[in-house]
């Protein structure tokens, strides 16, 4: 007789983490959508439960680390040759991600209660939020690639639904469509990659659930790659091909170059959505998936010098830089944050690509908190300014009708209409400042620790071109601090430039989540710091590889890996960040004409940044001039030859089956009987004489 221990209960009930939000969503949709408060309580209650359960799991894992992931599997479909299961797998990586998703989701949902209070779609919004949270948690705890793909599509669907939440706005509908199309390209590549991988390792999975991430007996991705390699069904070249195909999925989801164009426009959705989905969780799912299926991107012998990782590193590095340059010149506060998200996701990609597994995930972890908080701050600003423009019906009408390509910034999101907001909303302002400092990599705040780990790792990168890569990242760090503080100064300093006075903020349901998220934004970085690191930074002791709490918890592979920081790089990046802040201060507080000078002297660069490197234009041209034209001519061809012939054929078949006889023609019933008798006799004779 022994009672189940708390640990066992926690793991046994872990599927509830995924199911609870789904149940809440279904209850809301079916029964509670007419009661706003009940809908909200259900949704928040479900995610609060998930949050507590995740915390408990994290605590258990911290106290007694798991050698093998705890997993629960149900057969979804089982035959001799093909065994597909669905389930829940909890390991250290999943536990970290669960904490991130549930924390952000909880605070965003609380915040949404204030933000969406007057929206007619309040209950629907909470139902969607719950559905999204459930799908995202399902993605996090997936046991195999197929299950991941399933939830991957589901979070995608929820993302389109939420981007287009205000579907009556033309821009929102267009943005949802854009996100849909771009993600379709990525998901298509992802699916092809999975199927390609499955087909080349098919013999390995006989009698075992396919595509498992981890399995105590070794029937998992690593085992499959080894098997394929030793049986010759998988070569280094095919594995690289597979990994690059599969990478398209994360590239699209995490808005990396060249499929990054949808994320900034996804800001047409409500701001809590931007915070939850398009900053902290779903877009990070790409990074998470790479970490989850990391063996696929390694070489067949599981070393780090693979082409797949190199692609990840360079995509990440270039994206980080390009997105940062674009953010420099934007005026829409949400879009600036979106571009910075793209840029920071580039850092994470680069971290994973250069082998800094822990650092990549650590940055994901830190970034989620401060970026969500920054978005919620911007939401608070928009909320405070909204009333100034709400009664201008002509403007609202115009806002509903313009297209995305018009790039009309809603005035309550336009930095040029802000200024001096500090005195109206000091809490929001201070939280925003914390976020800016953190993202800029100022020592002491969370962003600094993970970002510098990544930059150092890029500098140590052995795949070639490490100077360029780390230089890109360091410059990006400078650009980041510049555009973030540009935003901060333009919004909170100087004179208020808007039409009417904004509301003064008071402690409310919208401020609390900000404050709650500001705490981890400051301190979460210390999870990845070792006290011995300080003397190294000051040059007192020699730099060595130092263990840290986060890395220990998250160790991957046979032994824990720790990425050490590189002192020179660290100082340089701090200098760049400080320089960026200083420049922003000069330009936007002291009003030195740096800005206009730059705009004049470097007109082409300024335009390039403002036009977002012309990606939209190029893609549009490719779409309209090449793809669409090709598609149209192909369609015409199909339409003319195939469909027409089919219809003709079906007319013929119709004729043959007597369909042409009018419905109520006399004698039709006799005709039926005649056909029955006739075909019986014909079939018998026919078969008897042609019988093999």
């Amino acid at each position: 007789m022994h009672l189940p221990t708390l640990t066992n209960v926690l793991f046994a009930w872990s599927p509830m983490i995924v199911l609870a939000p789904f149940i809440a969503a279904i209850v809301i949709i079916l029964f509670a959508r007419f009661n706003r408060t009940l809908s909200m309580l259900l949704s928040v209650g479900a995610v609060a439960y998930c949050f507590l359960h995740s915390c408990a799991i994290l605590n258990v894992l911290y106290n007694q680390p798991l050698l093998n992931p705890a997993s629960i599997n149900w057969d979804w479909f089982n035959s001799q040759s093909f065994h597909l299961s669905m389930g829940v797998m909890i390991d250290h990586l999943a536990a970290v991600m669960l904490l991130v998703v549930t924390t952000i989701s909880l605070f965003v949902q609380i915040y949404s209660h204030g933000y969406m209070r007057e929206d007619p779609g309040y209950a629907r919004f909470f139902a969607y939020l719950s559905l999204f949270t459930g799908s995202m948690l399902g993605l996090v705890v997936s046991t195999n690639l197929f299950e991941s793909y399933f939830f991957w599509e589901l979070v995608g669907v929820m993302s389109y639904l939420l981007i287009g939440f205000w579907w009556h706005k033309r821009t929102a509908a267009e943005a949802a469509l854009k996100a849909f199309i771009v993600n379709r390209i990525g998901d298509f590549g992802f699916l092809i990659g999975i199927l390609f991988f499955l087909s080349s390792t098919f013999g390995f999975w006989v009698n075992h659930p396919i595509l498992m991430f981890s399995d105590p007996q070794g029937f998992d991705l690593v085992g499959a790659i080894r098997w394929g390699y030793s049986h010759g069904t998988l070569t280094e070249l095919t594995l690289t091909g597979i990994s690059i195909c599969m990478l398209l999925g994360p590239i699209a989801k995490s808005a990396q170059l060249p499929l990054h164009v949808w994320l900034a426009d996804a800001m047409e959705g409500p701001t809590p959505i931007s915070a939850l989905i398009h900053a902290a969780t779903m877009v990070a799912a790409g990074v998470y998936l790479i970490a989850r299926a990391y063996p696929i991107w390694l070489t067949p012998s599981q070393t780090l010098d693979s082409a797949g990782l190199a692609v990840i590193a360079w995509v990440g590095g270039i994206t980080a830089f390009v997105a940062a340059t674009i953010a420099l010149t934007q005026f829409d506060i949400k879009r600036i944050l979106a571009w910075s998200t793209v840029s920071q996701l580039g850092y994470m990609f680069c971290g994973l690509g250069t082998g800094a597994y822990t650092a990549g995930i650590f940055h994901l972890f830190n970034h989620a908190f401060f970026k969500a908080m920054l978005f919620l701050c911007s939401g608070a600003i928009i909320h405070a300014l909204h009333h100034c423009y709400a009664h201008d019906s002509q403007l609202q009408k115009r806002l509903n009708e313009v297209s995305l390509s018009d790039r009309l910034i809603p005035p309550d999101q336009d930095l040029r209409n802000m200024g001096g907001l500090w005195k109206y909303m000091p809490i929001t302002g201070s939280c925003f400042l914390v976020g800016c400092l953190s993202i800029s990599g100022i020592p002491g705040l969370s962003g600094f620790f993970s970002k510098d780990d990544i930059i150092s790792s890029a500098f140590r990168y052995t795949g070639g071109g490490h100077e360029l890569l780390s230089a890109l990242l360091i410059i990006t760090a400078g650009l980041t601090s510049f555009y973030m503080f540009r935003t901060f100064f333009m919004a909170f300093f100087g004179q208020y430039r808007g039409k009417e006075e904004p509301h003064k903020e008071k402690i409310s349901v919208m401020n609390l989540p900000l404050i709650a998220l500001a705490v981890p934004s400051i301190i979460s970085g210390y999870l990845g710091a070792n006290p011995q690191w300080l003397p190294q930074l000051c040059g007192i002791s020699a730099p060595t590889t130092l263990p840290n709490l986060f890395g220990q918890f998250l160790h991957w592979g046979p032994t824990a890996q720790f990425e050490s920081a590189n002192l020179q790089i660290m100082w340089i990046s701090i200098a760049f960040a400080a320089g960026g802040i200083l420049l922003a201060y000069m330009a936007y507080v002291k009003n030195f004409a740096v800005n206009s000078w730059c705009a004049d002297k470097f007109k082409p660069f300024y335009t390039l940044s403002w036009k977002k490197w012309y990606f939209d234009e190029i893609y549009l041209w490719i779409c309209q001039k090449l793809v669409l034209r090709l598609f149209r001519s192909l369609w015409n061809l199909i339409d003319m030859t195939l469909v027409d012939n089919c219809v003709n054929l079906s007319c013929f078949a119709t004729l043959g089956s007597g369909e042409l006889l009018r419905y109520s023609e006399n004698g039709r019933a006799q005709w039926y009987a005649l056909v029955i008798f006739g075909s019986v006799a014909t079939l018998a004779l026919l078969y008897f004489f042609i019988r093999p």
């Binding site: 054929l649 419905y663 019933a669 029955i676 019986v680 079939l683």
Partner: protein, 505 residues
Amino acid sequence: MPNINDYLGALKLLQPEIFLVAAILFCALWDLFFPSLKRFTPIVCIFALLFAGAGLWGQFVIGSTTLFGGLFVVDKLTVLFGSLACAVGAIVVCMSTGYASRLGRNAGEFYMLLLVATLAVVFLAGTTDLIMLFVGLETLSLSCVLLSGALKSDRKSNEAALKYLVSTAATTATLLYGLSFLYGLTSSTYYGDIHNRMLELAHSPSLVVVFLLVLVLSAVGFKLSAVPFHMWAPDVFEGAPTPVTAFLSIGSKAGGLVVAIRLLSTALGPAAGDWSFIVGLLAIASMIFGNLIALAQPSFKRMLAYSSIAHVGYILIGLTSNSLNGLAAINFYVVVYGLMNLGAFAGAILFTNETGSDRIDDYAGLFRKRPWLALGISICLINLAGLPIPPAGFFAKAFVFWSGIEASSVLGWTLVAVALATSVPAIYYYMRVVIKMVAREPSDVVKQLGPGRHHLADPQWGPAAALCVCVAGIIAGSAAVNPIMNVAQEAASALQPTLLSRPGS
């Protein structure tokens, strides 16, 4: 010679069926005595069907038991098809409540006949004797004829009943002729004895064996509406009340199918080489004709009617392989297809009740006005097309095709090739409706729709509940592919022991 204890044991196993008979009598008499409480008839029917279905399902755990000295067998196949029939019956009754106003004073009789038809399918599921087979098929046909003509004031409904009657009479003739040949050749009506005798006859099949196979297949093919015995289907589907159409398209087909499975693979099993070729011919013809003609249909119900002919073609692929996997695939297909098809018909009833139109063009833009209805119909149609969202329909098709490939015969390969080729127009004509509903501008009919109604007293609640149940079933079925497939496989493997010689005598 069986004694009284055998009968008592048999009656114990036949409790669900006896319960249904009681429900039939109740429906026949309730109106007479309590005309003011008429509206409770469908509710009682639904509960009776669910109760009987649950009772049948409870018998799944027992192995196969033969009753009446081999006339009727209670095994997993009986249980699967019996409870499927009860579930279909319950959903159809549910749909019919939205139709009650058109049935006029015949509502009670209508529900009673629906129960009779369901009961006939339940009995057909377990029959292992030609006489029982004949009586069961006749009961099913007669009740379906009467159901088709239930809308007495509607000319199309009357015509549907008449056409169904004439066609069914013709196939009754062919079936009886085939059965008498079979009896003449084997001097038994029991499947087991027929099987033993067929072992000798199938060595060098003469024309009479081929002829009797074709005669029996004509009756089965008629119930399944396989080409060339399909001609009644579109007219009857269009003319009959839509719930009846739904029943015909799945309930009575399940009856025909289980008869085919049991008769062909046990009694006529030794002649499998012959009948599988003939069934293959029917399958090819059904897939090609069904899909091609469905392509050109402007009416939603008619499109579903022709596509159901095509689906029969797919189902027959599993039958031709005559293997455990093939039969399991059929069982799976029928369960999933039943849900999808019933859902589509429930959607059609909801749409037609509100708009009075059945044209596919009129469905355009429905998503704007009735998003949930459009979503429900879309899920059913996407699954009917075999696309994997959610993947129940996809799996059903994949299993059947796989069984065809596994047969690794020229026939199997040909069938799968034809099936794949004809799936393309199928995807086109199903997705055309979905795309119309979601992406197009609302049609005139849809534009006139008012705001949605929500209160439960609405006559739409019945079909709406049916649609919800079907969509939920599809989603649950997608999640529980493995358990359903296990059930399907156990049901298919139940066929083996019935090959033994006649028990008890």
